[in-house]
Amino acid sequence: MNRETERPNRPALSLHVPEPDARPGDEVDFSHIAIPAAGSVSRPDIAAPASDTHQLVYSLVRVLDDEGAAVGPWDPRLDADTLRRMLRDMMLVRAYDDRMYRAQRQGKTSFYMKCTGEEAIAVAAAHAMDRDDIFFPTYRQQGLLVARDYPLLKMMCQVYSNKGDPLKGRQLPIMYSDRAHGFFSISGNLATQFPQAVGWAMASAIKGDSRIAAAWIGDGATAEGDFHNAVTFAGVYRAPVILNVVNNQWAISTFSGIAGGELTTFAARAVGYGIAGLRVDGNDALAVYAATAWAADRARSNLGPTLIEHFTYRVEGHSTSDDPTAYRPQGAGAKWPLGDPVARLRKHLLLIGEWDEERDASLQERLSAEVRAAQREAEVQGTLGNGHYEDAASMFEDVFEELPWHLREQRDETLRK
């Protein structure tokens, strides 16, 4: 089948397969990553044509400089309380993650996923949007729930699939859902939430409402058709939605090059659809806040969707089922040049004199105590395999509004046992 022989005059084609620059054993080297100085990127007016944002998709919106100062046109100029609240939320998310990760390791549940290094992306966005806006998240935005004061206890009960699980043991751990907190059900099927969020936003526009939607998707999942359908519909109908791509550069074992990140940025997809696009330092809480607020104002003013790439790094493994040292150098995360979002926001608060070491230490103490307390309380209601949610009858409920005959029969068969 090799035509070479037949066509000596033609060059032989070959398949290009993207490879990350470092594999286990190699030195991690992030020196090739272009990092524009904080404050160096211009900020278009909310009402500017989408094309005015299109040079930004190849740069990086950054607010916090290396000293921790907030600089440049994107500085959201937040009051100290908001800054402290964001720091607290991010610290709490991290404490919660560590705790639940260990709980899984201790066999108390089947599965867990951390968002280490990505806390700012969810927490800052939640604070930049209104309380009655809706979120269509992936499994790495637990920060959205924390920022909206969703009880840790409920989150833990879901993770344990125990008697207190609001989802009645039906969902895999971390697949939270809560309507009252505007947090849409997380799906195990990647990318499906993206066009759903667009539909929700279209509905809001249809009803002359003023609420907007935000959705999150991973770099890897942008390859799904759902992503394309979401952005296409959002552009066609100018839906009031913020489309967030969390580029943490990994999709389980494959790096972002396999997802289409080798030739251009994910923010650049916005150019292809003619909608507004921003590329943001995802480890900079102020940059995430500013970009989200910009996109939210734009959406609320009926100016349509914005695609935001949050450039970050997946510091930990993909999930408790994954060991990243099998495919990338050990400790790569620690070397990530954009640093740690929690440390960077803390540094800023310290720099502006609105925070100090003692307060930080005691907050850290309070938060871990809070997490420990919630965990104790949660475990009273059981853990997976040890008093988890178990109610055969309820297994058949909520498939339909009413129980049809075949499910009634199936339920009764089970109950007879």
Partner: protein, 337 residues
């Protein structure tokens, strides 16, 4: 009362409901200004405006997914998939999302939405304008599947589907949009006007989801059918002079098991007919149910008359189509055994 064909009846169901509830929106390919390639949504955009009736990009995934989002918001979207053959790009969103949302949110996010789609052959549409994919949707939890066989039921069932608080797949037998088809392709088609079920009440009424109708009473054998096949069954019973009872299922999930059991217990014989391919089609489910529940009343095996397990061929449509020429012998066999 107005005499309506199926298209007019479906169109009227939209109008009646959209006038009552401004949360009902219609989206799909060509459904807006043009009113749909089969004209089911004709005039709706003019009456209700572009933000309630609008054309969608050619992206069935996006159509279903945005409808899910709209239903999650609180609207009642009615989405049209232009041909059932083109529903597959939206399959994941239907199966994995719409069908499971109420369950996985413990009831917090029910999805009241309807997906309408013309299905079935008999129009020389070839492999991709003739399919009957209903069995796929019967296999996955959380989705109701409705298939009318005449204008009266079409309007009443569509209204019931729009008012239903669960996702409903609404399959429209396109071959009988304009008139009942008995499977004799060489005979002139009688328009609905000549048919009692074309007497369609004006205004609001419903036909309950999950309830079958006895299209013909009989003692000798039960024929389980839906959509176009109801008319094939009726015509074949007449032609063969067989005292068959014809059940028009109208809904396949949840299927009307009581009606099925009552009829088969009475006749002791059962033939299932559908246009979809045979293997793992809904006829298999019906045969399995009947033998499970009426085994000791059965005097003969349940026979399936179905489309063959091949793609719907263009020029040999009438060799493929399960019409009277195939149902007749099956009925006789059911009686012999």
């Amino acid at each position: 009362m107005t005499v309506r064909n199926m298209i007019e009846a479906l169109n009227d169901a939209h109008k009646v409901m959209m006038e009552r509830d401004d949360g009902i929106v219609v989206l799909g390919e060509d459904v807006g200004y043009f009113g749909g390639v089969f004209r089911v949504t004709a005039g709706l955009q003019k009456q209700f405006g572009t933000s309630r009736v609008f054309d969608a990009p050619i992206a069935e995934l996006g159509i279903v997914a945005t409808a899910i989002g709209m239903a999650a918001y609180g609207l009642r979207p009615v989405a049209e998939i232009q041909f059932a053959d083109y529903i597959y790009p939206g399959f994941d969103q239907i199966i994995s999302e719409a069908g499971r949302m109420r369950y996985r949110t413990a009831g917090e996010w029910p999805l009241p939405m309807v997906i309408r789609t013309p299905y079935g052959g008999g129009i020389f549409g070839g492999q991709t304008h003739s399919q009957s994919p209903e069995a796929f949707f019967a296999h996955m939890p959380g989705i109701k599947t409705v298939i009318p066989s005449n204008p009266y039921d079409a309007k009443g069932l569509l209204i019931a589907a729009i008012e239903d608080n669960d996702p409903v797949l609404f399959f429209e037998p396109k071959r009988i949009y304009n008139g009942p088809f008995e499977g004799y392709h060489d005979r002139p088609v009688t328009p609905w006007a000549k048919h009692a079920a074309a007497e369609v009440p004006d205004g609001h009424y419903t036909v309950p989801i999950g309830k079958a109708a006895v299209a013909r009473e009989g003692e000798a054998v039960t024929i389980l059918a839906y959509g176009t096949m109801v008319h094939v069954a009726l015509a074949t019973a007449e032609a063969e002079g067989i005292d068959a009872e014809v059940l028009d299922l109208r809904t396949i999930v949840p299927v009307d098991i009581e009606a099925i059991e009552a009829s088969v217990r009475k006749t002791g014989r059962c033939v299932v007919i559908h246009e979809a391919t045979r293997t793992a089609g809904f006829g298999a489910e019906l045969a399995a149910l009947v033998q499970e529940r009426c085994f000791y009343h059965l005097e003969a095996p349940v026979i399936r008359v179905t489309g063959y397990d091949v793609p719907y061929p263009h020029s040999m449509e009438w060799t493929y189509f399960p019409g009277p020429a195939r149902l007749g012998p099956a009925l006789r066999k059911a009686l012999e055994d």
